[in-house]
Amino acid sequence: MIRIENLSKNYGPKQVLKNINLSFDKGQVYGIIGENGSGKTTLFRCIAGLEKYSGTISSDIDKLKNHLGLLLTEPFFFSKITGREYIRLLCNARNKNTGNIDERNIFDLPLNQYASTYSTGMKKKLALTAILMQDNECFILDEPFNGVDIQSNIIIEDIIHKLKDLGKTVIISSHIFSTLSNTCDEIHLLKNGEFLKKTFKDNFITLEAEMKEITIGNKIEKLGLK
């Protein structure tokens, strides 16, 4: 379990996260939704220990960071490192054996090519493959479906279901509502650094409609499209 209490984060005078209280249980999948700049990535970075913050983030896992698989929105790749070497690097970092990489390459990635030459979707799939091979207990997937082809989206959804069955904690952010409603047990709506709403599976359809109202409102009319 991950417990967040009174979490706040400022960048200079700008408060990005405001007094967040939240907990994530084992075997559950959580969705975090919100506009660009609402604080999702900052929240993830705080949980991962990549940002300093006020408040507490605790876990029943000793040193959460060491058991956390973090998929960044835009994974960074060195210019001349192959997909295979990237996986090896991340597994080495966690003292994990990669096993048979080719067998575990379920997205059929060209692992002997430089990862920096991959398309956006392939990079995402490679980064996801690497953190899955690390055998983590918790996963933060920041926009895992972004730029990924439809077939791989289906595979990623199945992977998330499998992680849930294995009792892992999964936290996902996505701008594609259907992918969240297919995978999550709870969805939390974040706006301007505050959690506005928590919704369980039964009410996802209502949430989508409310979200449209909150986030879009009459903005489209303001465009004055003719």
Binding site: L50, L70, K80, E85, L89
Partner: protein, 321 residues
Amino acid sequence: MIINEFAITSNLKKMKIKEYFQLQFKIINRKLTDFGFNPIIGFLTIFIGFIGLSIYLFSKTEFAEYIFILIALSFISKLSEIKRNDFLKFAFPDKAYLVIRIVENSTVVLPFILFLIYKQIFPSVFILTTITLLMALFNFNTTFNYTIPTLFYKKPFEFTVGFRNTFYLFFIAYFLAFMSISVGNFNLGVFALLLVFIVSLSFYSKPENEYYIWSYITTPKGFLFEKIKIGFVYSTILSLPILIALGIFFSSEITTLLIFQLLGYIYLATIILAKYSAYPSEMNLPQGILIGISLLFPPILIGVIPYFYFQSTKKLNNILA
């Protein structure tokens, strides 16, 4: 009317080109400032450094003019990179684009041409000028997607990436070692050995993305020791052929060779520690000065290494703790 429109368009083009170069100048100034230099002092240092190194090169080898031309061309080859030029072509009209390419190439090679004129090597001036102007017309990839095989794939990334970027320099080092044995010039052999270490040191010049540190399950101390251990093992693999060959053919100088090898390891450890002591920023002026002084006066490393080590553990503690 037509003449007026032409004049306006022409002025607009000139303005756009001027803005482009003003922006380039700002970028260079910002880079110098980030490195800890006042831009004026930075330009002055580059100028003095260029003159000093050029004089040194020409005093050391009869092939200096060819090396000089190659260095100049390697700089302008970076300006011919396809993606960069696609952007320029998209942003500027054809004529303005060509003007930019010619001015950029000429600006970069100008110091080289002036020095060659000073040395009165006019055929090289002609060759360099011609190639510079011709290269403004061509674009090419300076990087290739072909995966270069490396011995260092098991423990990525510094030597894996670094070797792929600079493998030709190791062939040059091995060739120099071969030449030193052929002509019985021990100093050239030592230079070849040092070249391997200098290139290895360059692999640690840029800080990696924090994700690649964050992923590690270890303490800052463990992380640093692992990095140094890998650096030692892989630099040994690269330098060992030269060390053994020189050891066999200059057996009376084996102690000197081992001292240089040891110095190579010490500076490798120093640069790794210096890199993380500045993390997440790049190494800056204070670190550069300390390393520079230690190159001139190695005993200072007794103080510099622990200083970098404690700074590094402090910086890494923010990410690994």
